[in-house]
């Protein structure tokens, strides 16, 4: 069974990678398994300076999902390079580095630094974090701002750039086309849906930030729909994510048009989820009649073509 996928900047030996923010910088999960088993590693968002993020509570559980409002806490791009990327040097797994910021200048600065680091294989432009007041969010909802940011980052990045799309929009295809037109090498989708949960005791939101980002199984149908629609409208590859908890979900994302599949929230319930999915994928693909990951990608809409072409 051929699990390999070749994407701009990322030669994956299998299509499974952890999603940004749900895996830190890999250190903690390296206590559970060998990170070399992964197709790639997405590291947590970096900003130019360190950030403390939002007040706590920062997470709340919902039916089949969770809300988070971490607020991009990170030690800043310099320390990430010195401490975290340094730690990751012992592994060979390709690294996708998530880039965040409040202003176009900040994104550009972080992208320039991270993109130049020898251990970073591609950048993931996080224009969709719903949890920071200033910046970030408007880049994710306005196609022309997103395009101009993509262009600016592309012009300084030494590695391919994936743009991570927000589902909090009326027209995801328009966003995808805008960043493709601006030179994005790939897309990551989806980030979290904006949600809220109230504490019936106090009457107030549970999260100190009020709103948070909804992730987990509840959002999977929205993610699958968006990957399905966008993958037919653009020609750059998609890293699909949103609610993956089992190998059937991985295949569903591939069939919907994703070329690789990221796992976020499920790492919290089961820290061994990524290697387990990698182990289980070949058997499911075989059972469903697919000989390679490549053959699964986009099958939900390429079906007829392929049957007709008789291969």
């Amino acid at each position: 069974m051929d699990l390999r996928v070749s994407l701009p900047g990322l030669e994956l030996k299998n299509p499974i990678l952890p999603a940004s923010g749900c895996f830190g910088f890999g250190r903690e999960f390296s206590e559970f398994y060998d990170l070399n088993e992964l197709g790639a590693i997405t590291i947590k968002a970096a900003t130019s300076e360190g950030r403390f993020g939002n007040p706590t509570p920062r997470v709340a559980e919902t039916s089949g999902g969770m809300l988070n409002a971490i607020g991009l806490q990170n030690p800043g791009v310099k320390r990430i390079m010195e401490e975290e990327l340094k730690f990751l040097e012992q592994y060979e797994t390709p690294i996708l580095a998530n880039v965040a910021g409040s202003t176009e200048e900040e994104y550009v600065e972080v992208a320039r630094e991270l993109g130049a680091h020898h251990r970073v294989n591609a950048l993931e432009l996080n224009i969709s974090c719903p949890n920071v007041k200033e910046g970030g969010i408007q880049f994710g909802t306005d196609p022309s701002l997103a395009a101009s940011l993509t262009r600016a980052v592309k012009s300084v990045s030494e590695v391919p750039v994936y743009v991570k799309l927000s589902p909090n929009t009326g027209d995801i295809v328009e966003m995808a086309k805008a960043v493709e037109g601006a030179g994005a090498d790939g897309l990551s989708m989806i980030n979290t849906l904006v949600g809220m949960k109230l504490d019936l005791g106090t009457g107030r939101p549970i999260l100190a930030n009020g709103t948070g980002g909804l992730s987990g199984p509840s959002i999977k149908p929205v993610a699958i729909r968006m990957v399905y629609q966008v993958s037919q409208a653009v020609s750059i590859p998609i890293i699909g994510m949103g609610g993956v908890t089992c190998v059937e979900d991985v295949l569903e994302f591939l069939l919907a048009g994703a070329s690789a599949v990221a796992v976020g929230t499920a790492n919290f319930q089961n820290p061994l989820i990524c290697p387990e999915l990698i182990e289980q994928l070949p058997e499911l693909m075989d059972r469903c009649g697919y000989g390679s990951v490549q053959a699964c990608i986009g099958r939900s809409f390429k079906h007829e073509e392929t049957s007709l072409s008789g291969t």
Partner: protein
């Protein structure tokens, strides 16, 4: 390598108002050496609950670990329905517990409130084993909620308070700090934040406190459970409760 384990339920019984004692056994019990650490427990079937529940280690004895939990929501409700012979998916031991290596021949006071009481029992046992004198001050909402009183008495002097005065002293654990013996050298405390604040502001001797926060990963990767350091010059400026804590030296983090 850290692992998760399907631990076997040996016992799961009601010991006080809505409070259960669960005994588990599994491969990693012997690594649960440091009091104050917690188990990170999967609740519910399938993906109905995406987050694990942190529960303190209340005791470890003969390859058996005990947790004591109060039913406050769906997860603890689910736990309370587990039957003997079933398994529970556990990650642990997690976090950094009470630093008691080398603590000997001291007089130590344990101050706990509600579901902050359980970790103090394992801590007290260890401290007594290390030849310390232990005084426990334990607060509960009311008479119905009191648990492990006799167990603590076996370790040393034990004072109970209840909010409604239905048992022991009426009032808060902090009200009793004044009456404690002068030779107390250190305190260890676990309970709700206002209690920890009161305790650490009242005592002048050194102490350690154990914090609670809503957790995502429970392993240090998601930054859900951070708190700020009191020292603004601290190089990181924050601590992760699930990894650097839940136990911190009193005064290290902002309450």
């Amino acid at each position: 390598m850290l692992k998760k384990d399907d631990m076997h339920v040996l016992q799961n019984k009601w010991i006080a108002s809505n409070t259960f004692e669960m005994k588990l056994t599994g491969r990693f019990v012997n690594s649960m050496k440091q009091p104050g650490q917690f188990l990170h427990i999967k609740v519910g079937d399938g993906t109905s609950h995406v987050l694990r529940r942190p529960l303190s280690i209340a005791n470890v004895d003969h390859h058996i670990v005990t947790v004591i939990y109060k039913i406050v929501g769906k997860g603890t409700k689910w736990l309370s329905e587990r039957k003997i012979g079933e398994t529970v998916d556990v990650i642990g031991p997690r976090g950094t517990g009470f630093p008691i290596e080398g603590v000997r021949n001291e007089h130590i006071v344990l101050i706990g409130g509600g579901v902050g009481v359980p970790p103090l029992y394992y801590l007290g046992r260890k401290l007594v084993q290390q030849s310390n004198t232990v005084t426990s001050v334990l607060g509960f909402q009311g008479k119905d909620g009191v648990f492990y009183e006799d167990a603590f008495r076996e370790l040393g002097e034990t004072l109970i308070t209840t909010d409604d005065g239905s048992y022991g002293y009426k009032g808060r654990v902090t009200d009793l700090i004044g009456v404690l013996n002068q030779d107390v050298t250190q305190y260890f405390s676990c309970g709700p934040k206002p209690m920890l604040k009161g305790v650490s502001e009242t005592f002048t001797i050194p102490g350690f406190i154990s914090l609670e926060e809503r957790m995502g990963c429970g392993v240090g990767a998601c930054f859900a459970c951070v708190c700020e350091t009191s020292d603004p010059e601290d190089s990181k400026g924050y601590r992760k409760i699930c990894q650097d804590g839940p136990v911190f030296p009193a005064g290290e983090v902002v309450l």
